[in-house]
Symmetry: D2
Subunit: 287 residues, 4 copies
């Protein structure tokens, strides 16, 4: 099951009997070895059906393009499927946006350096130059694009130009600027943000301060796809940690930092491994 031979199919369609049989038959008949199969239905009657198939390609009897074309005609059309096949050997391209905090960024880069996060990290873009050395130590280009009230839209244009529609995922590793809906519309369901609270609690600025003022006994972090609504996109992953009246705001931030970096790393990993399907404003995560 090496990266050289692994492919993944994601499917979304109306549920009805026969889908699993049709799909598994198709791949078996063409020589694919199914090594993992996950499926979910919101309701067997009238619901939405989701499927993730991991298969090995060495003995497939046709080329990638023919396989996809044949699948489209022989299976996908019949069930009116929304579908996509990805190949682990074609690494996804990833850009990271960051401000001054290093923890989420360094976790991603460290996992990347040990191949636990499997992507081509094409660049890190920041509105500050604080983390330039840290990033360049990983031999990754670091571009500083300052942002202020006046140049916000220009800065976004500059970022879009740099990205050049060539990245498969943009990771906001504590990027402290709110992206415009216009920017987001270029990368629908491709921008992953880490918010430092257990959403939907504490939307917006200073969630640790909000948590301290509310006196919660548990704090959390949430990784989600970015939509035009602030902190409201589909949630990919969340985690929490217990706190108490003893913890100062500085300690909340310190404790939260560990949760943030782990939650973001898991979400990015799952995105890269094609484990996430979006259903309205929610996610199906086959992990």
């Amino acid at each position: 099951m090496s990266d050289e031979t692994t492919a993944r199919l994601l499917i979304k369609c109306s549920d009805c009997p026969g889908i699993v049989a049709s799909v598994s038959n198709f791949f078996y008949n063409h020589g694919a070895n199914i090594t993992c199969l996950d499926q979910h239905s919101t309701d067997p009657e009238d619901g939405v059906f989701f499927m993730r198939l991991e298969f090995q390609t060495p003995n497939i009897d046709i080329s990638r393009s023919v396989l996809e074309k044949t699948f489209a005609e022989a299976v996908a059309k019949r069930y009116n499927m929304d579908w996509k096949i990805s190949y682990a050997s074609s690494k996804k391209k990833m850009a990271i946006l960051v401000s001054k905090y290093d923890h989420a960024l360094l976790e991603i880069l460290w996992l990347w350096s040990r191949k636990a996060i499997d992507a081509d990290v094409t660049m890190v873009i920041s509105n500050h130059d604080h983390l330039k050395t840290a990033v360049e130590n990983f031999a990754i280009p670091y571009v500083t694009i300052p942002v202020n009230k006046e140049n916000k839209l220009d800065a976004e244009q500059e970022i879009l130009k740099l990205l050049d529609n060539k990245v498969d995922v943009i990771v906001l590793a504590r990027y402290m600027q709110i992206l415009t809906g216009q920017f987001v519309s270029h990368y629908p369901n491709k921008i992953i943000n880490i918010h430092h609270s257990f959403l939907p609690a504490f939307v917006g600025a200073n969630p640790y301060r909000q948590a301290a003022e509310k006196g919660v006994k548990i704090i959390g972090a949430t990784a989600h796809y970015v939509t035009s609504k602030l902190d409201m996109g589909p949630i990919i992953e969340q985690d929490v940690i217990r706190v108490s009246h003893r913890n100062t705001m500085a300690e909340l931030k310190e404790l939260g930092r560990d949760i943030e970096r782990n939650v973001l790393a898991r979400a990015v990993k799952w995105h890269l491994e094609d484990r996430i399907i979006i259903n309205d404003n929610k996610t199906i995560v086959f992990n």
Copy 2:
């Protein structure tokens, strides 16, 4: 450290040097053996100081009333303390309000029956009669006071009359009626509610439905003191459990049920053991 001999002092005052020394001296000099001491300061300069002292009474050289009077004059006055001494041998009186769900109620009663919750449960009051047999099996009186739109205020008056200002804590074990501010004002910081969400997320009705619609990956429960603002009183305890897209709403309720009953039981236990001090809209819990 039996219940016969254990006493507890709770203190709240402005922080300044010397409080711990004064308090511990006072009790030592009167023959009390300090078996547990917890303290917290929001800020050593200008902050609020909180303390919980557990001490054993057998060798105390003066009566309870003289001890309290002497402490008031010799220590509390100097630091302008808000303070209270409780004796484990004087069990707190507890009433439970419940509707139809049995899980939170039965957990409390089961813990009570094995003396893990140490109180006199004087009565269970419900707006339905569903749980009458279950409660009476524990030899606890069960009173049904139906509530509807028309009689809501009358029903509250009837409950107040039953309670007769003689209970130290009212536990809302999934009581599905919103108490009026007028009712709450009779028992400030003495009514504990279990809300079936991780507050402040999902205030109000149907939090599991809200959670399902939002697509959160973790659900929770919150025990809090009841104030006149719905679901906004000081949080005592919270806990969470991981869920996924696979969980139906019925399963969310089933999973949440375990969290609800455990969180409520811990909060009630801490209240009964005088482990909670309220500071504005937050709690200090010495556990």
Copy 3:
């Protein structure tokens, strides 16, 4: 997906390409609607393959017995499968063995009374009569069979006679007697025990004492199938809770009690829902 119509197939065989396609085809062709499919392979090359299929029966075109016979011939034989089909409508029969502690027993019975545990509880057998009333309140027969050094084997014979080979699962809800290998051999992979430690740590007697003496910072509980080797059978489920130097042995037991009952309840539920396949001395749990 009511209990009336749900069936479950469990499969274990050598892994090779085509199994998923063959199985899903077979059931689709006979009118079964697959509502859940889980599979696992220890290794796509040369490994062992496991599968759980949940399907709905209303539109199946042949009788249960013909379906099973046809599946055996058309599919199972080809892959040399170890397999079994269960029907949710045929409730499993369950007996519970218990000594004096009530927490694990009451949890199971409470879940059973609200249909969250779906079985026919045929009897509770105990070596003491302490819990007779509690059990009979649930309208379940309670049989006392005292055990001592002299009559141990006779007592086991008496239990076997009572069970009469008619139960599908025996739950040891803190039954403080070690069953002989001879007894266990009558119910292979059908006896579920809850051990009050995080196995393999603290095998045998007094695990909470062992934990306290070792000074662990976390205690746990383990549900496992019983084999002839004490506390060494396949682990079904485990969970843990954080403790500290402050916790007395009595508190460890109290904290552990909550973990024990939850872990045992999950294991029993999964067994009843045919979610567990045993592989050597380990379990595959499709949950």
Copy 4:
């Protein structure tokens, strides 16, 4: 409460009435402001008493040495105390031993670089040179001392010479050599190891393999002080993570890695902040 002014007193003695009063009086009378007080007794009658006092020094009326001498005579002698005062401004010296795995080491160094771990890291010693660049990027000396069967004792002598009795704590951040009792005897209760299992389960080599073969549903990590008995020293901290039949051995290692680094970091932090007192083969951790 800056590091400049914070001091910490640790006490261990036989329990008897009056200790808290004596200690708090002493410090109050000399102008120390107590900002944190934790205490624990194994038994108020005949037990062992432990105490941690955090106090601020700016207004203390005597020098450090006079304070300590006076405390020894006025308080410690009376209760036959084992005690120690540390000053946050005198940073502890720390050496780290590591082999090839980088995760535990980098976590410590990363926390150190952001001052969340407050020590002077004097050197990193390794039996391999793999991590030389990574460590030198932090401007910390890296010394390679290869170890094999023949030179083991010589290598230990070399390490001892390098350390020169000048370090307050030695952190084994996945150092894959077993230290001799002779080496350990030079640094009693000053060597912290991270073992990659939930001790006492899976002592010794390859705990992840042992866990996989046993089929546990949860894996863990344990930070402990090193004694002459392998993996048997006083446990400081433990944590766990849920796993399943789906996880390969490689994934267990990957999941365990996160637990290992967090558990070790917490243990090291607590040691540096004088939060740990050893009682026989167990720890009291005031955190």
